[in-house]
Symmetry: C2
Subunit: 774 residues, 2 copies
C-alpha cells in the first residue's frame, strides 16, 4: 500500500459521519492508530449494516495509521466535543453515542441523522469496548491521561528524563511505545523457525503500513524524508524483538538505503515506493564467506558485455558466495549485489547492482542459487541465506550509478576519480547501520537492566539475624553488578545520540572519515557493553533470569552477534587505533619521533598539572567527582597510549621488522588505545549532556551517574593508571571507595532511572511455552 500523504478534510461533513466524531477522538487519543485499532474499528464499522455507506467513505479516511489528524484538527475535534458535552446535562453517565448525536445535530448542515444511526452508534460503542462515559468525563474535566509512572515516588522528574533521553525524537518514540504495546506485536510462544520468520515478516508489514518503512526516503517516494526518525525507529524496535530490528534494518536501511544512496533518480522512481511499502522485499548482498571484514577485496564479479548492454554477475569461487544475507533465505526478491566491476578489460573496483533473485511466486530465478544459513544462536526470525550467481545477466541500468556509471559502449565515468575514496563513499550507508546497531544493542541492555533492577528491589534474600530478609539491591555485590553498568548505559546513550546527530547533519560530500572513526569506536564499545550487561543481568536474576519468560536470555542470544556483525569489534578497534596513529603521524610529520614524544608528553603533563598539581595523590570526594579530574585522566590515558603505541611501532620499524609483524606485536596495545579513545568520547558526550541539564534534581542524579561511569572506568583500568604513575596507591583505593559510595547513592534512584527508559511492560516478558497447569 502507498503511504503518500493525501489530504483529508478536518471534519466529516454529513451528520451521520459527524456523529462518529467521538469515536475518531478515541481512536487518535494517544496519537497513534495501532494495527489492532484499525482492524477493530474498520471491522465494526463495516459490520453494522445500519450505518449508511456515506459514513464509511467519510470516516474511514480518518482511520489510516499514516494520516493522523494534524494538531489543529485534533484540537478542533476536542473543542467541538467539549462544547457539546458542556451543553448536555452532567448529572448522569453520557455515552459517546449521545455526544455524537449532539455534535451531528449542532454541526451538520441542518439535516438530521438517518434513522437507525443512534442504535448503530450504541452498537459500535459496545462492540469496540471503549469506556464512553469515562472518555466523556475526561473531556469535560480536561484531565490528561493519568501516568502511572508519575505516581511512583522518585527524587526527580522521570518523564523529564525520558524526554531528555529521547531528545528531539520524543514524540516519535512515544508513538513507537504505544505501537509496540499493541496486541499485534505481542510475543508468540516459542515456535518453529519457519513460523517465527513469517511472524517477523508480518510485523515488518505492519510497520510499513504505519509508514515507518519509508521514513528515510524522500517524500516524493512515499517517504518521511527523515533519517533521524528512521534511526529512532530502529532503536525503538529493539525494545521489542531483535529479529524485527534486523529485518526492518535490512529491508529499509540496507536494501532500500543502498538504492536510495547509491542509485539515481531512475532507481528511486522504479523501486523506492515498493521498497518502503514492502511490496518488494530485498537483500543487501555484500559480505562473502571469505570476505567478512575485508569487503574491499570481495570476489564476485560484474563484467559489462557491450554487445548486449548487460552486466554478467558471477560467483567465481566458494569463498565468494554471498554469506549471511538477511532476507535471502525466504522473502527477498531483489538483491543489491556488491561486485568488482570490469568493463572493456579494466577493473573499476566494487560497485552495486540490482539483481533479481526470486520470482513473485518465491522460486529462485535461473542461475541464482540460494541456500538457508540454518538455525542460529538467536535472531531466528531473520531468514539469513547464501547466494551464488552463475553468470546472471542484468541490464545496464541495474548498476546503481550515483558514484560510477557505464555508457552503452562500456565507457566508465565517475564523479570521484580515486577508487579508494569512491569505495569509502559507497560504504557511507554502512555507517548509519553501525550506529543503529549500537543503539539497538544499548536498548537491549536497557531492557535487561530494567528487568534486573526491578527484580533486585523486590527479591529478598538473607538478612540481619532474626529480622526480615532484605532486597538484593541492598548488597554491595549486587549494586556493583548493576549500578555501574546502569551509569555506563546512560553515558553511551549520550554518545550515540551525539554521534547520530553529527551523522545526520553531515552531507556525504563533506566526508565521513571522522564520523566513521567515531562510529567504529562507539559501536565496539557499546556492543561489548551490551553483551557484558545482559550476561550480568541474567546472573543477577538467578534462576528467574534463566527462564525464557523473563526475556533476558532471548536478548542475550539475539544481541550476541552484535559484537561481530556490522564490523567485527576487534577489527574495528584496530582500525580506530590505526586511524589515530595516522592522524598523529600527519600532525607531527615534521617532527622526528623524539620530538614528537617530547611534544605530546609535555602537552599532557601540562594539562594534568594545570588541572591539579597533586593529581596523583589528591583523594577527596569533591576532587574525584569533578569532571575536570575525570576528563583529564581519561584524555591523558588515550593520548599517552597513542604516543607509546607510536614509539613502540617506530622502534620495531627501525629494527626492520615488517610493518605487518610490527602491528601484530603491538595489537594488544592498539586495542587498549582504541578502547581508551572510545571511553573518552563517551565521557565527553555524557559530561556535556549533564552540564546542560537545567533542572537541579535531575542534574544531580545524572552527575552521580557521570562520576560513577568515569570512576568505575578508571578503577577497571587501574592497573594501567598505577603503572603509568597517573594514580598513586592511595588514590586508587580512594577511587574504589568512591565507586562504592556512588553505588549506594545511586541505589534509591535506580528504579526511576530504569523507568525513564520507558520500555513498555508488554516488551519485557514473553509467554512461557510449556507451562501448562496440571
Amino acid at each position: 500500500m502507498s503511504t503518500s500523504t493525501v489530504s483529508t478534510p478536518s471534519l466529516p461533513e454529513s451528520p451521520d459521519a459527524l456523529a462518529l466524531l467521538p469515536m475518531l477522538y478515541v481512536a487518535w487519543a494517544d496519537g497513534v492508530l495501532t494495527p489492532s485499532e484499525v482492524d477493530l474499528l474498520r471491522a465494526r464499522i463495516e459490520s453494522i449494516d445500519a450505518l449508511p455507506e456515506s459514513v464509511r467513505s467519510e470516516v474511514c479516511p480518518h482511520l489510516h495509521p499514516t494520516r493522523p489528524p494534524s494538531p489543529e484538527t485534533y484540537d478542533r475535534w476536542v473543542r467541538i466535543l467539549r462544547r457539546e458535552i458542556e451543553r448536555l446535562p452532567d448529572d448522569r453517565r453520557l455515552s459517546l453515542a449521545e455526544v455524537g448525536l449532539a455534535v451531528a445535530e449542532a454541526g451538520g448542515d441542518g439535516a438530521a441523522v438517518s434513522p437507525g444511526v443512534r442504535d448503530a452508534l450504541e452498537t459500535l460503542e459496545a462492540a469496540v469496548g471503549v469506556d464512553g462515559p469515562g472518555m466523556v468525563r475526561e473531556i469535560r474535566e480536561q484531565r490528561p491521561d493519568p501516568d502511572d509512572r508519575a505516581t511512583r515516588p522518585a527524587r526527580f522528574d522521570v518523564d523529564a528524563l525520558t524526554r531528555l533521553l529521547d531528545g528531539d525524537r520524543h514524540d516519535h518514540m512515544q508513538r513507537m511505545r504505544t505501537l509496540l504495546s499493541d496486541d499485534a506485536f505481542s510475543y508468540p510462544p516459542p515456535q518453529p523457525t519457519a513460523v517465527y520468520r513469517e511472524q517477523v515478516m508480518e510485523w515488518v508489514q505492519l510497520l510499513a503500513e504505519q509508514g515507518l518503512g519509508a521514513l528515510a526516503f524522500p517524500e516524493e517516494y512515499g517517504g518521511g524524508g527523515d533519517m533521524g526518525d528512521f534511526m529512532a525507529t530502529f532503536e525503538a524496535l529493539a525494545m521489542h524483538d531483535q529479529s524485527l530490528v534486523v529485518k526492518y534494518g535490512v529491508q529499509f536501511g540496507l536494501f532500500g538505503g543502498s538504492i536510495y544512496r547509491l542509485g539515481t533518480e531512475k532507481h528511486h522512481e522504479r523501486y523506492l515506493n515498493d521498497v518502503g511499502s514492502l511490496e518488494l522485499p530485498g537483500c543487501f548482498a555484500m559480505s562473502e564467506l571469505g570476505h567478512g571484514s575485508n569487503v574491499r577485496d570481495l570476489e564476485t564479479t560484474a563484467t559489462y558485455d557491450a554487445e548486449t548492454g548487460e552486466f554478467v554477475i558471477n560467483t567465481p569461487s566458494e569463498a565468494a558466495r554471498k554469506e549471511w544475507i538477511g532476507n535471502a533465505a525466504n522473502h527477498g526478491r531483489l538483491a543489491v549485489v556488491f561486485a568488482q566491476l570490469h568493463t572493456g578489460g579494466r577493473h573499476h573496483g566494487v560497485h552495486a547492482f540490482v539483481v533479481p533473485i526470486r520470482t513473485a511466486a518465491g522460486d529462485a530465478v535461473p542461475d541464482v542459487r540460494i541456500e538457508d544459513c540454518g538455525e542460529k544462536m538467536g535472531l531466528n526470525g531473520v531468514d539469513n541465506g547464501r547466494l551464488w550467481f552463475d553468470d546472471v545477466r542484468v541490464p545496464r541500468e541495474n548498476l546503481l550509478d550515483r558514484f560510477g556509471s557505464v555508457d552503452a559502449d562500456g565507457t566508465y565515468h565517475s564523479p570521484i576519480p580515486s577508487s579508494g575514496r569512491r569505495f569509502f563513499t559507497m560504504l557511507g550507508t554502512l555507517i548509519g547501520g553501525r550506529i543503529s546497531v549500537a543503539r539497538a544493542g544499548l536498548m537491549a541492555a536497557k531492557s535487561g537492566l530494567t528487568i534486573a533492577v526491578r527484580y533486585a528491589n523486590r527479591r529478598r534474600q538473607f538478612g540481619p539475624r532474626d529480622q526480615a530478609e532484605v532486597p538484593l539491591l541492598t548488597y554491595r555485590t549486587h549494586q556493583r553488578r548493576l549500578l555501574p553498568r546502569l551509569a555506563r548505559t546512560y553515558a553511551i546513550h549520550a554518545a550515540l545520540h551525539d554521534l547520530t546527530g553529527t551523522y545526520i547533519d553531515r552531507s556525504v560530500d563533506e566526508g565521513l572519515e571522522d564520523v566513521e572513526a567515531a562510529a567504529n569506536a562507539l559501536k565496539s564499545y557499546a556492543t561489548r557493553h551490551t553483551t557484558d550487561t545482559l550476561q550480568e543481568t541474567r546472573e543477577a536474576c538467578g534462576g528467574q533470569g534463566y527462564l525464557r519468560e523473563n526475556r533476558i536470555s532471548t536478548l542475550m542470544a539475539d544481541t550476541d552477534v552484535f559484537t561481530t556483525f556490522e564490523g567485527d569489534n576487534t577489527v574495528l578497534l584496530l582500525q580506530v587505533a590505526k586511524g589515530l596513529l595516522s592522524d598523529f603521524q600527519r600532525e607531527f610529520r615534521d617532527l622526528n619521533i623524539l620530538g614528537m614524544v617530547r611534544f605530546v608528553a609535555k602537552d599532557v603533563i601540562d594539562r594534568l598539572s594545570e588541572t591539579n598539581p597533586l593529581a596523583s595523590s589528591q583523594t577527596d570526594p569533591e576532587h574525584l567527582r569533578s569532571t575536570e579530574f575525570q576528563q583529564s585522566v581519561l584524555e591523558y590515558r588515550a593520548d599517552r597510549l597513542l604516543q607509546t603505541a607510536a614509539q613502540r611501532l617506530k622502534a620495531r620499524l627501525d629494527d626492520d621488522v615488517r610493518p605487518f609483524d610490527a602491528f601484530i606485536d603491538v595489537q594488544d596495545h592498539l586495542i587498549h588505545l582504541a578502547e581508551a579513545h572510545a571511553e573518552r568520547l563517551v565521557f565527553r558526550s555524557f559530561a556535556d549532556q549533564v552540564e546542560e541539564v537545567q533542572d537541579e534534581a535531575l542534574r544531580n542524579v545524572l552527575s552521580r551517574l557521570k562520576s560513577l561511569f568515569a570512576l568505575r572506568a578508571i578503577e577497571k583500568d587501574r592497573g594501567w593508571f598505577l603503572e603509568s604513575g597517573v594514580l598513586g596507591s592511595s588514590k586508587s583505593k580512594a577511587i574504589r571507595t568512591e565507586v562504592n559510595r556512588l553505588c549506594e547513592e545511586v541505589r534509591p534512584d535506580a528504579e526511576a532511572l530504569v523507568d525513564a527508559f520507558a520500555i513498555p511492560d508488554a516488551c519485557l516478558s514473553a509467554p512461557i511455552g510449556t507451562g501448562e497447569r496440571r
Copy 2:
C-alpha cells in the same frame, strides 16, 4: 533391566556358536558395545533363520553392554583367532566367516558345524557391514587401531597427555568417547521441547542399559560401587549434551544418591535397583521458590502423625513451592522431598522423605500439584517443574533415616546430636554434585576451545601486503583471546581432579567442611571460567560461531545457569570468604587484632623475602616463569586479602556497625579474597601436577601453560598487585610482555593441546535445522 553381573563362559561351546567368535571379537574390539551395535548384531542374528537356536543362546550373552569380556577372555579370543588365521593361506582376502569356520572346526568338541551355517555367517558378515578381510589382516599383523590423531605432528605425545588428563579413569573415559560417538547419541535437528525431553530420556535409558546409571551404588544393588567412575561419566557426558548431563545427574546422582546416602538398607533394597535401571524415575526436591540459596530455612513441613504412623507433607505458602525440580514436569514418579520434620510438637530440622508424585500412567497423585517451569534459555531437554504438597501422607518408613529416625510413637533419634552438623552431613550429597557441575562446565569450555582453536588455525584473514592471508591464530589479539583461557582450563582441570580424589577418599564421618569449602571456591571459579571462555570462543569464531551448527552457542545457553545452580557463585564465594575468616579468627584467637596483623604481615613478607629479595623489581623471564615466584605472589595475595578483610571488619565492628552491615560493606573485598583463594588452590594443583610429569617434552609444554596461567592471573589483577606494592611498574610491564611471549610459544602446541581433550568429532557439531538446498 538389571545390570547385575552374571558370569558368562569365556567361549561359546557348540561349534556353530564358536564360528561366531570373529564377530564377537569385532563387536568388542574397542571395548565398548554401543546401543547401535547391540541392536544391529542382535537383529541380524535373530533374522537369519539358518542360524540354529543354540547359537543365539550361546552368543547373545556375550552381546550385553554391561558384560564385556574380561581382558583375559579377550586375549584368549585373539590368540585363538590369530592361530587359525596363521594356519590359513595369506595370499587372498579372508572373510570372518572362513576364519569362524576354521575356529569351529579346530576348537569344538569334534562335531562339525550345522549345514547352512557357513552361508548364514556370510550373510551376517555382509549384513553387519564389517570389513572382514581388513579385520583379519589386522589380527594377523597384530597392528593396533590406527589413531589419526597420532598422524598429526605434535611436539609432545598427545595420547600421553590425554591419559594424564583422564588419570585413573582413562579406560572409562575412552569407553565413554566410543559410546558417545555412537549413532544412538547423534544430535537431532532442532526440535520442540516436548520431543527433545523424550530424546534425552531415551539417552538416559541407554546409559542405564550400559550399566552407567548405577555406577556409584553398591554392587548388591546392580551397581559398580565406584563414585569415581560415576563422576567421570558425568564429566564425559558433558562432551555431548548438557541436558543429558543434568538429567543423568538428577536421576542417579541427586535422586538415587540421596536415597543411597541418606537412606538405610530398607530403602536401598526397595529402590536402588530400579533407580539405577531407570525403571523408577525420580526427583530431588530441595529448592523452594523463596529458598534457593538458604535451604536450611526451607518451609515445607513433614509432621508425624502417630495415630496413623504417617508423615504429612505440606507446602505452607507459595514461597515454599518446590522450584526448578529436574524430572518433575514429565518423568519423575517419586521425589526425595526435603522438609522440616516435626514430631510430638518438636522441630528437628530438615530431613528427606520419599514421596510419590506421579503414577506409572503419568498422572499426578492426589494432593500433589505439578507445574512445568516452561522454556528456559537452555537445558530444555530437562523437564524442570514445580511441586506443591497439600497434606500428602506417606508411611513412616519413607523417612530416609540414616541420620535421623522416628519411632512408631513419634520419638526422634539421631546419631548426630547437633542439628547443624546433621544438616551439613545430609548436604554431603550436594558436594559431589557441585564438583561434578564444575567438571561438566569445564568440559564444555574444552569443547568451545577445541572448536575455536581449530578454526583459528584454519581461517585466514588479512595478511602482509601482496602476500597470502594468515591464520587468525597468528594475531596477538586472537592468541590473547584463546591461549590464556586454554592454560586456565588445564589448571582448573588439575584442581578439580585433585578435589574429586579428596572427596571420594573421604568418608562422611571424617567431616567434609574443608572439601566443601574447596568445592565452593572451585565451583565458582570454574563455572565463571566456562561462561567467560565460551563467550570468547563464540566471538573468536565470528559469524560461524553464531550458527547453531557450530555448537558453541548451544553450550553457552546450556551452561549459563551453571554459575547459578548447585549454589549461586556470589553466595558461594561469600561463604568461602567467611569460612576463611572463621579459620583465621580461630587460629589467632589469643592475639589481639594488631598482633594478628603483625603476625600475618611478617609471615608473608618473610616468605616473599626468602623467595626473592628483589621480588618487586626482578623482571627476567626465568624468575617470572618460576613456580616459586608465581606461587609466592598468589599465596601472598590471598593471605594479605584475608588479613585486610579481617582488619576492615574489625574496624567496623569496633565502631558498633551491625555485623550484617559490616559484612555488606566489605563484600567486594570478600569476593576478591575468595577468588584469590580459588586461584591459589588451582595454581597449587596444577603446579604439582606439572612437576610430577616425567616426560620432558610434555613437562615443558605443561610448564609453559602453568606460567601462562599464573602470569595472566597476576596481570589481570595487576591493579591490586601494584596498589599493594607486590609489583613495581616495570615488573608489571615485564609480566605483560611475558604473557605475550608465552602465548607465542604455546601457539604451535595449541591444536595438540585441544586434541588431547579427545572430544569425539561427533560431539563437536550439530546438524543445521533449516539448511535445505533449493
